[in-house]
Amino acid sequence: MSFPLVAEPAGLLPAREQMGFSLGWHIILAAFGVAFPAMIFVVHRRGLRGDEVALRLARRWSKVAAVLFAIGAVSGTVLSFEMGLLWPGLMGRFGDVLGLPFAFEGLSFFLEAIFLGIYLYGWDRLPPRLHLWCLAPMIFSGVFGAYCVVAVNAWMNMPTGFRLTPAGDVVDVNPWRAMFNGRAFLQFAHMWLAAYMLVGFVVAAVYAAGRLRGRNDAHHRLGLAVPLRFASVAAILQPIVGHILGIALGDIQPSKLAAFELDVHTEQPAPLRLGGLLIHGHPEGFIAIPKWGSFIARGSFSKPVRGLDTFPPEDLPPVNITHAAFQSMVGIGTVLAVAVVVYWLARWRGHDLADQRWALRCLVVAGPLAVLALESGWVATEVGRQPWTVFGILRTVDAAGDNPGLWWVFSGVLIVYLGMTVGAWVVLRSMTRRWRAGEEELPSPYGPAPEEVSR
């Protein structure tokens, strides 16, 4: 057995950075692919019942979806290359264990791309009801595709569906068990709600910003109301799902849990530590709430939470990043959930807070916060799984390749993604500007040329 520092291959650190970066970038677009079609469906259906404003909103959203989908397809292709280019040690050994969900994900992505094309071409061409229902396969394939991808991640957290021989060979592979592993459904539910929160709050934030600038028309009201409803339902359910998902963590990944909770020693019951960092092995700068750590981690006010010092040091994740990311996710999630509860209570009492400037400002902030919460959640679960790629089975050191020059590739990736971000921003801004100027028929990546639409 060699020391980790000596054995660290050239590809490890840049591969980690690049995978984290490109995945973190893609996940925002993936969330739109999962959640946006359902919101378009709602406004489109409303539009078919005679609401012209809603119909126009559906047309515009479908074009925004096309832009986001187009760059999402590109960044998704990047990820499938990266699986092999950055993690040959994972794919070469476990490709046939974890590959099947990816095959089904590819299938559902294909379906979504095709129906997006049909939907965009369908405006003014297909019978209205049939056209509306073209969104249904998109909604379904977005959900199923998300399940498949999350199933792979859940498998990495709790590997099943194979056996290791003493020599380290992978035998008795059952890919279906890997695909439908015990954690997959809950983890998917968590991600699914997160996607609705992200898209709901981000889209609502766009229209809230418009209303703050004095565009207080029906268009902006509806554009705010529909995504806010989706986000509200998701934000209220999310803490419950997250909690259920977390309860089993003490059995499945106790080291991740200890890092989440910043528990150095095993405590019974453990306090909840808000904030704080591990400095020279001691947690500092936190606020402790007695017993709540045990409740959040184990679902009971009396159960113990295993401490970091019970693990060999080489099996521990980077504690501070994991802890900070986990707490950001939970903190933001709680704030958003409380905020929507306040909003709907006020609505129930007859006050629409969306008419208040301060509430609109809060909504504008809620968009980026939802993005931050989702990214924090991924950082928490991914960094918290370290030093393993496949928990307890394959260390990340062994999953990485040994290609020099990865820093160059990563630099290139940073530049290209920066360009794509700027490009997407410029394009989306220019679309809204042209819409505002009264140009309704803009082109879209999958759609027909505008001249044909207006004929």
């Binding site: 998704g76 040690g89 299938l107 049909i118 071409y121 059952n174 410029v426 040329a449």
Partner: protein, 339 residues
Amino acid sequence: MTLEIAVAAALFVGVLAYALFGGADFGSGFFDLTAGGATRGAELRSQVDHSIGPVWEANHVWLIFCLVTWWTGFPASFAATTTTLFVPLVLALAGIVLRGAAFAFRKYAPSIGQARLYGAIFAGSSLITPFFLGTVAGAIASGRVPADGYGDRWTSWLHPTSVFGGVIAVGTCAFLAGVFLCADAERAGHPPLVDTLRRRTLGVGVVTGLVVFAALVPIRDDAPTLAHGLERQAAPLIIASGLTGLLTLILLWRRRFRVARLSALAAVATVISGWGVGQYPWLLVDQVRINDAGGAHATLVGLLVAVGCAAVVVLPPLAALLWFAQSEDSTHPAPRSAP
């Protein structure tokens, strides 16, 4: 037929679909690049936009399908290839990213300057990707990817078979695209555009055909196993490719563009199949046979289930989309102009 062969066949169908549909898509970048200045090339570029608009991204899915099937069905050989052919794969990927993003952005570009920038990136990267994917095929076919991976990062793909593979990939893509663009431009009723496209496509076709057959000479030394296969079990396919290629040129000459599309597809399909059949039964030539490379059997069965589902669920709507996009373009998009 073993499970491994069945999955390899499914994988190769994906390669073929990507080469044909994705190829026609990539090749349009060549005509976009050579269309001339912003004013002179506007008509041709609008035609390119119009022709590949509805399908351009669906085509990436073929590539994703190939990658996923490869790593799930034949994981060790996949890792061997990615660790050896790291450089061309990264460059091909760079082409895909730049091209996809630039094409999407060009559609919305608010000014001619931005359209020109995105257009140049789109067209340039359209050539990069087929070239480097062609070198990857050449490296595998010439036995330069060792079974355990980490082959030489440079010499594995900088040799005659790979370079010819890259050039042939670019040429066949451009040829396919040219034939399709001719047919589209004719249907849209643009005789001068048809003339330009026809002339260029004929040129591309002649050059590519010559390169394909010229490549057979250096391959004998550089990739003996492949050459042996090409001269024996794959010989009928290579001959068929030559004949259909020639037929396509004649049809182009006689302006029978609609029929030429079919023979062009056949010419490219046979040349790609020639490669596949030529290197059979090797997955990585001289290194790993298909039958020895397979992953777990349960997974191979699962993959075939997924492929079956795809055939049932995906192909009908795909056909509907293509039919839908093709059937309604009786009008022609106006040339791009500055706002």
